[in-house]
């Protein structure tokens, strides 16, 4: 446990001095605050527009799932990759941190960012509902809200671990950021090609990392009753129903991708010279 405390302290000392960290967290807070402010203003103007718990969780978490994962991925790259260009990773190891512990510190940083982003979104959203005149329904948190919050956590973990992997493999923030965004475009293009095909190949596209991310971040995947309503309306209009993978399947896929990304980064960290 002492080692965990030491690693957390080291990462804290490094992170709070980075401007990129405060800019990213600040920007994330602003983006998540916009729907909360809109919700409160709307509720004050029009009593029919409610902004209260638990009904407003999809709005509160929706803003965070939209941009949060990319902030997590970019921030991980900005915080980790320069450790290699500045050669401070090497100096940390020379000073007595093993490569494995250096890496463990970065995984703790990722976990810390996931918690921080969720806490920021929840605090801003809940703070907004406290300022709103709307009356909420029964309870504060429903199982479906917890599912959506879990989806946000897994989305942050998925892209954050991809950012950590790219940082450790490429060891330079510019190219790592470039590859992260290039992958988005490439995956989109591949899915576009595959979707013209049929059968198993088409279904496999649903399991691509950023497709998993899209589904995890979509409130309809977590609120089946809302999805049923939406699909009923689409059917009335003669449109195809929307379908999502089960939340359990999405969770397992996101965890599996995160494990692969973190495992690849760990092996690289362990085997390559600094």
């Amino acid at each position: 446990m002492k080692v965990v405390g030491v690693l957390l302290r080291i990462e804290w000392l490094k992170t709070v001095k980075r401007r990129a960290f405060w800019v990213a967290v600040g920007a994330f807070a602003v983006f998540t605050a916009i729907p909360a402010v809109e919700g409160v203003r709307g509720a004050r103007r029009n009593p029919n527009l409610s902004y209260a718990l638990p009904e407003s969780w999809p709005d509160i978490l929706g803003a965070a799932t939209g941009i949060g994962p990319f902030f997590a991925g970019v921030l991980m790259i900005l915080l980790v990759a320069p450790e290699f260009t500045w050669r401070t990773a090497r100096q940390n190891v020379i000073d007595g941190l093993s490569k494995e512990r250096f890496y463990a510190g970065k995984v703790m940083l990722l976990a810390g960012l996931v918690l921080l982003f969720i806490a920021t979104a929840v605090l801003i959203g809940v703070g907004g509902t406290l300022l709103s005149p709307s009356e909420g329904g029964l309870g504060i948190l429903r199982p479906t809200d917890l599912s959506y919050m879990g989806g946000l956590a897994l989305s942050l973990l998925l892209v954050g671990s991809a950012g950590l992997m790219l940082s450790v493999l490429i060891r330079s923030s510019g190219p790592a950021l470039g590859i992260l965004f290039l992958y988005l475009i490439v995956e989109e293009a591949i899915i576009g090609l595959i979707s013209q095909a049929g059968g198993a190949l088409r279904r496999s596209a649903e399991y691509f990392p950023f497709n998993i991310l899209d589904q995890l971040g979509d409130d309809l995947a977590h609120y089946p009753e809302v999805l049923a309503d939406v699909n009923a309306k689409r059917t009335e209009r003669g449109l195809e129903s929307w379908e999502f993978l089960d939340v359990e399947v999405l969770a397992v896929a996101a965890l599996a991708y995160s494990a692969i990304f973190l495992g690849a980064a760990f092996l690289s960290m362990r085997q390559r010279d600094l």
Partner: protein, 312 residues
């Protein structure tokens, strides 16, 4: 007791035979506790790779080594807690102040804040400690690196080119700090290509060339003793030629002062007799004390081109 001991330590970069580079080739030497040891070599000779293996940032591909008597992954990890080291340029977080950088190093080493102030004081950086690292001059960066190595009061200090890029004043300051540390009984392992500095600072040395150790010993033995002689005669060409064929001469080279020959035995009478027999009469014959630079150039011949910086 040995502070450092290397046994056939080897590093090969790359796996394919054709493209791989043998950076360090089965080197073996030892550094005793309390020594100030100079590790010399031309650029690209394998100095930094060797130090990288000692400090754990580069994996050896062969051989083994001990640090403060410890070996094996766990033993070396524990031993490194008693070592302070820098590798190549000072490596710090540019946006953080000198003090905050030492705070990170101290957290890694498990050292408290009071020690940070002591080390800043020792290297003369207390006044600039609150300024960002990126605003420091190279000399200040080197001094901050020295402060970081001293945080855990290490028994062994490993410094890679600590005087690199410094002006004479900066070099003098670093030399002074190293002298203070040596006086405190620390073992210092210092890589450098500033030979005059090593000669002034170090008690022992090893020279590495193309990944292999080509000389190793006490500085005093090499530069202060031995049986080298300086000879002058009216015809320097004839003198050099005659000494080349003298059976007791192990090496002969020209210098600005005359011909320097290393003899197997310290028998100057035989030299004069031999040269007189060749019709050469000496105007000057005296024991010669070579500098470390001359020893270096002697043993690294073939790498002389890359030594311009050293010679200058």
């Amino acid at each position: 007791m040995h502070a450092i001991q290397l046994f056939d330590l080897t590093k090969r970069y790359g796996t394919s035979t054709a493209k791989s580079v043998l950076a360090v080739d089965r080197i073996s030497f030892a550094v005793e506790e309390g020594q100030v040891f100079g590790f010399l070599g031309p650029n690209g000779s394998g100095k930094t790779t060797t130090i990288g293996m000692l400090v754990g940032t580069i994996k050896p591909t062969g051989g083994r080594f001990t640090l403060l008597g410890a070996s094996g992954p766990k033993g070396l990890m524990a031993a490194r807690a008693r070592v302070g080291a820098t590798l190549e340029t000072p490596n710090f977080y540019p946006h953080m102040s000198g003090r905050d950088n030492l705070l990170v190093a101290a957290a890694v080493k498990g050292v408290g804040r009071p020690r940070i102030e002591e080390c800043l004081e020792l290297v003369g950086l207390s006044d600039r400690a609150k300024h960002r690292f990126k605003t420091y001059s190279l000399g200040m960066k080197q001094r901050l690196a020295l402060a970081a190595t001293m945080l855990n009061d290490p028994e062994l200090i490993i410094l890679d080119e600590p005087a690199n890029g410094l002006d004479p004043q900066g070099i003098r300051e670093i030399r002074e700090i190293i002298r203070i540390l040596a006086d405190r009984g620390k073992t210092i392992f210092l890589s450098s290509h500033l030979l005059a500095e090593v000669e002034r600072t170090c008690s022992h040395f090893a020279i590495i060339r193309q990944g292999r150790i080509v000389a190793w010993g006490a500085v005093a033995e090499v530069v202060g003793e031995g049986s080298a002689v300086l000879l002058r005669a009216e015809d320097t060409e004839a003198l050099a030629g005659a000494m080349q064929t003298y059976p007791e001469a192990t090496s002969v080279r020209r210098t600005d002062e005359g011909i320097v020959a290393t003899l197997e035995a310290d028998d100057l009478a035989s030299v004069t007799r031999y040269l007189a027999g060749q019709g050469i009469y000496l105007s000057h014959l005296a024991p010669y004390r070579p500098s470390l630079e001359e020893v270096f150039i002697d043993v690294t011949q073939g790498a002389v081109d890359s030594m311009t910086e050293i010679a200058s």
